[in-house]
């Protein structure tokens, strides 16, 4: 609901991270306020949208919840291309998932757009006894790489809304002139021409 003086922003947001880190759980908690203990592995990428009102703007997140499975890795650019924001998720009880998260960060920094808002989410913060990655470690890494870090728990909902709010606050208020999601809208006439020649 845009009020006078209140900006309306569309933001493509992508979640990346190792299998089982909790990407889908975070999204489901944020969008539907639901949580399932044994969340099924995502296939391909699931799409959600959710609108947030921050102080001066209404942000409509177009969220891509990508699969963490190895086979999708080389296809990830399709999902993070043109994204305004990314949440790289790892499981605080799993060192390997933290290492994987670092690789994602490096990949985004190398290929993504320089204005991308990046958040590092240390998920499953509710599992106090099983923790393997300290907050300090993750915080340090985040600072060194110009992203912000938050510990989250999709299960208890701790910091879930907060991480999206923080992203919303950091999104540039000046929208780029192209389609804000960075996607090229298909030209219908071109489609016809293409399919006619291609399948002729």
């Amino acid at each position: 609901m845009a009020t006078p003086g209140n900006k309306s922003i569309n933001a493509k947001l992508v979640l990346l991270g190792d299998v089982g880190a909790g990407k889908s759980s975070l999204v489901l908690r944020f969008v539907k306020d639901q949580f399932v203990e044994f969340q099924e592995s995502t296939i391909g990428a699931a799409f959600f949208s959710q609108t947030l009102a921050v102080n001066d703007a209404t942000v409509k997140f177009e969220i891509w919840d990508t699969a963490g499975q190895e086979r999708y890795h080389s296809l990830a650019p399709m999902y993070y291309r043109g994204a305004a924001a990314a949440i790289i998720v790892f499981d605080v009880t799993n060192q390997a998932s933290f290492e994987r998260a670092k690789k994602w960060v490096q990949e985004l920094l190398a290929q993504g757009n320089p204005n991308m808002v990046m958040a590092l989410a240390g998920n499953k913060s509710d599992l106090l006894d099983a923790r393997k990655v300290t907050a300090e470690e993750a915080e340090t890494y985040a600072q060194e790489n110009s992203l912000f870090f938050m510990e989250t728990s999709a299960k208890t909902a701790a910091n879930v809304k907060e991480i999206f709010y923080e992203i919303a606050k950091r999104l540039p208020r000046v929208q780029p002139t192209e389609n804000p999601t960075g996607m090229v809208l298909p030209d219908r006439s071109m489609d016809r021409a293409v399919s006619a020649s291609c399948c002729a």
Partner: protein
């Protein structure tokens, strides 16, 4: 959800028949019985799990027959091997001399991408036979050969001494992991009509 990555390694065991490969393997893998079809098909197959540094390895061990008549199967047997264990009998000079042939033959048939750095390990077996008195290949000589072939790690063992075999396999597991490091292998094609990016496009098959 995998907390540990699991890696499968194909390990080839080579050496003359009679050097004791099979009892070494049986000892390592803790099997109670010995297999019967090495004679027919040219190899026995064993599986062993190794834990190392929070990683889990499954060793798929190919205990080959060591006879000439199975030589032509080498290409198929050695295909995709991650590492190779060469075994000789310290009481048999011939079995030691043949290590060279086994190594060369393996490199020819398996043709690994980086032959200089392909992980080998040498095991000198039966050190306890006859109280060590019938030993003809000295440890010094064996180590010298190993050093000359790119610093192949060397271990000695006997039917009773199990830990050296474990060490040998742990060593080769580590070496195989190093050489196996991760260049993105799987890069599928997409049919991408109409976008400007450089995805490989295989065209449309209508």
């Amino acid at each position: 959800m995998p907390s540990r990555r699991r890696t499968l390694l194909k390990v080839i065991i080579l050496g003359d028949s009679g050097v004791g490969k099979t009892s070494l393997m049986n000892q390592y893998v803790n099997k109670k019985f010995s297999n019967q079809y090495k004679a027919t098909i040219g190899a026995d197959f064993l599986t062993k799990e190794v834990h190392f540094e929070d990683r889990l390895f499954t060793l798929q061990i190919w205990d080959t027959a060591g006879q000439e008549r199975f030589q032509s199967l080498g290409v198929a047997f050695y295909r995709g091997a991650d590492c190779c264990v060469l075994v000789y009998d310290v009481n048999s000079a011939k079995s030691f001399e043949n290590l060279n042939n086994w190594r060369d033959e393996f490199l020819i048939q398996a043709s690994p991408s980086d032959p200089e750095n392909f992980p080998f390990v040498v095991i000198g077996n039966k050190i306890d036979v006859d109280g060590g008195n019938s030993r003809v290949v000295s440890e010094k000589k064996a180590r010298a050969w190993c050093a000359s072939k790119g610093n192949i790690p060397y271990y000695e063992t006997s039917a009773k001494e199990g830990t050296n075999v474990e060490d040998a396999f742990l060593c080769i597991t580590k070496d195989a992991m190093k050489s196996g490091e991760e260049e993105e292998m799987y890069l599928p094609d997409t049919i991408d009509v109409g976008t400007s990016n450089t995805q490989r496009s295989s065209g449309c098959e209508c």
